[in-house]
Amino acid sequence: MSDPAGTSLPVLLTTLSSAVILNDRGDLSAPLETRGATVDWGGVYGQCVRLTGAWQLRLADASGATPLPESWRAGGPMPGGYRTVHRWNDLDLVHEVVATPDPSGAVRRLTISGPPDGSRDVHVVSEFTPFLLPVTVEGLRPTSFRATTGPDGVRLLQRGFGLEYRSDAMFDRLYLNRASWRGGSAEGPLAVVASGHDVRVPPRGTVALAWQIGGGLARSLRGADAASALALARPEAIGASVEGADRAWRDATPDLRFPGAPQLERAYGLARAGLRRLYCAPGDDLAGLSAGFPWYSAIWCRDVAWMVPAVLWLGDVEWAVRTVESVFRFQGRSEVPILGGQAGELPMQVAPGPIFLYGTSDTTLYYPGLVARIARHGGRALVPTTWSIALQRILDWGRARTDPDTGLLRNGGEVAAISAATAAVARIRFGIEAVDTTIWDSTDRRDHAIDVQALWWEALTALAEWLGPEDDLGRPARGLADRLAGTVRTRYWWPEEGYLYDSWRNDRPVARVRPNALRAVSAGLLPGDAARSVIRRAGAEDLATPWGLRTLSARDPGYRPDAYHDGQVWPIATAWAADAAFAAGLPSVGHAYLDRIAAQLAERPGSAYECYRGDRAEPFDSCFLLGFSVGPFLSVLFERVWGLAVAADGPTLRVRPSFPASWPSASLHGLRIGAGRCDLDWARGRLTVGWEGPAPLRVTTAAGEGTIAPGRSGELAVPGADPPSPGET
């Protein structure tokens, strides 16, 4: 599989506050197909700011010059970094790159070994394109920068953003826009910054040079200090530290074994590793998960919501709490039209600055369910008391957009509102004619998209549960949820297709087949026969392909195979299909969908593509790693394949697995429930549960229930594969 640009998968190095994208030849250059064109995404990223574009090294001597990649001989990962080996003329070179958390950026080091017959003089040039703008401001590179030199190196500023560039050896030459620069201060357009070192390599000796770029917010620049000196002097130690933290995190997550499905077991490991790469704590006390790489590497709060459930199943309850806390900090307190914000609304994205923006119909709706999940996994005591106020504001925000008679929540119109708010004040005005801002935000799904209604129902249900049946807000939330469920069942059923309408607009159904209807099945809003009908219809070949589900039926007049939300295949939609199939009692269908995702993850380890063309299994306009493509997949493994539900306050565990009849066994070790951990071993209908926790664990299965004392294990009967339901063939 290749992308249209014919490029290989980039190498991604991350820390919690930084990222480096490079190619396997060692240079920080990574041309990738992007929205139909080729764009180089290589470079250094810090604090959700793209610090640089391509950053390249060149070698020169009296005989000529060469870019470093052209001398490449071998390469591969090193702890927390990437190492390449090169040979140029009679010199051996080792090049190492690591992402560094402090300063947030990168260090690269070049070690040059000389031949025995004499010394060699080499000129080493390091050259990069400055960017200095948040990653998510798409398509723009600032045009003007301020460059200054100091005892520590070069500092570049672009309004509120900046970077520091330094080396462990004094620069022999500096260049701006490929013209020599004596240092001092310069301001204006800046396409390239470069430095040169003159190096004499002794016979049989080695010389090492290291470069560092770090930055993000200008106010966080602080010159050379102990942390940056350490990173520059011992990048391998920084890399080892980052890898050690990754390993400790991985070791604390559950170990899943599926002897009957090694592809699924491997996919679990790959998806888990992908999720870890998205962990993000970029500064300003923000914690969360990046939406993806390369062009969505910021905290997008909808994307976060699809990853937090997986984070909880992996046992990192504290990270989930920090993440939701980071989002709640920016809950709208009053109307701010210029940012698209309303009171009670949660932001679309947050980044250090802090920079934040509102203007989606659905992001806010995810968070009541996430709070309920955090309480289930970690215990209600773990939930900050202030969150109750945030949840009440969410309820108020949602009700203000809701028809009280039908319970339907209105989506769409936010971008127009932002454009109107900014129209009269900006010298240059921009806009995207996006009329809707739900998950498929490049198409029109106004006014009452089915998945938004399912989400609203889940939010209302979680709020009602959280507030309690006697609460003055909890009661009406329950009532609204019931009305909404009734409306979905009566208004959205599309008899000709045995499916659900995609939306309702102007009192008419929007008759388009999209995978979003599957969310109503997962939410349990449809009776069994209707749910199974939806699963079967979604599996027809106009929507389903061997590489996953399209965003729109190929029979729809608006279908285009290269349109982001009107035809492309998205792994998240495939995960929805898997989830819904299990929920509807069609486990073999669910497993088949999971196998498709597993195959994609295995095809290019390290990737979890955002989307594929609708007419062939080729990533197109696709981030190479997206949280959407790993989070829901991981959650389905726990919630549907293992059929787990936990309640830390108790504690209790429900196990209702849907293992294929061919599976001999399965195990899940290290599942966190509150302050305890349990091990599950299943083989042919018997489940052994081991439990280490502060209180006895009550376990329920389809065949009964039992209680496991702390430090003990017990055995229960558990049917493995659910018997095929009448609708499953």
């Binding site: 139909g36 798409e138 509120g160 953003f161 701010v336 934040f356 921009f430 982001y564």
Partner: protein
């Protein structure tokens, strides 16, 4: 200043004060710096000029979207300009392409930091403040991206 613009500015001040109080002045400063960058990094300052046949200007970046554009439409003073009267190129020395010749198979491709020069032929060169609107269509993400500016065109150096 029109009443509408004055009202909008007052609203902006109110929203800025709210943000400053709620999230601190750091936040305001950084968000303002992003807004300024976006505003200044697209239309090249001083590039909007009268040409013998109409108007010319340059964009230093693609607006809001990177990628391949299958169509670029222009409106001047609210009137649509036929695409055969709109020319574009990357810079001096490159051949002009007509907007009418852009298509899904022959799009105009731009990455971050890549400029585009425009020339628009008009029946008569507008005098005074003129509003130009451009609409870009990227097949991969269909919603139109638009850019609009109102300036008085300068004279091109002979």
């Amino acid at each position: 200043m029109s009443e509408r613009r004055f009202g909008a500015l007052l609203s902006l001040v109110r929203q800025g004060v709210t943000l400053g109080l709620d999230y601190g002045t750091h936040s305001l400063e950084v968000m303002l710096s992003v807004a300024e960058t976006v505003e200044e990094a697209v239309l090249e300052p001083g590039s909007f000029v009268r040409t013998p046949g109409g108007l010319g200007f340059a964009l230093a970046n693609p607006p809001l979207r990177t990628g391949a554009f299958s169509s670029i439409r222009a409106r001047v003073a609210g009137r649509a300009v036929p695409p055969e009267h709109v020319r574009l190129r990357g810079g001096a020395g490159e051949a002009w392409r007509r907007a009418a010749d852009l298509s899904r198979t022959a799009p105009w491709t731009r990455g971050p930091g890549e400029r585009t020069e425009f020339e628009i032929d008009l029946p008569s060169s507008p005098a005074g403040e003129t509003t130009v609107r451009l609409e870009f269509e990227c097949p991969a993400i269909p919603p139109l991206v638009w850019l609009e500016f109102t300036e008085t065109p300068g004279e091109r150096l002979p």
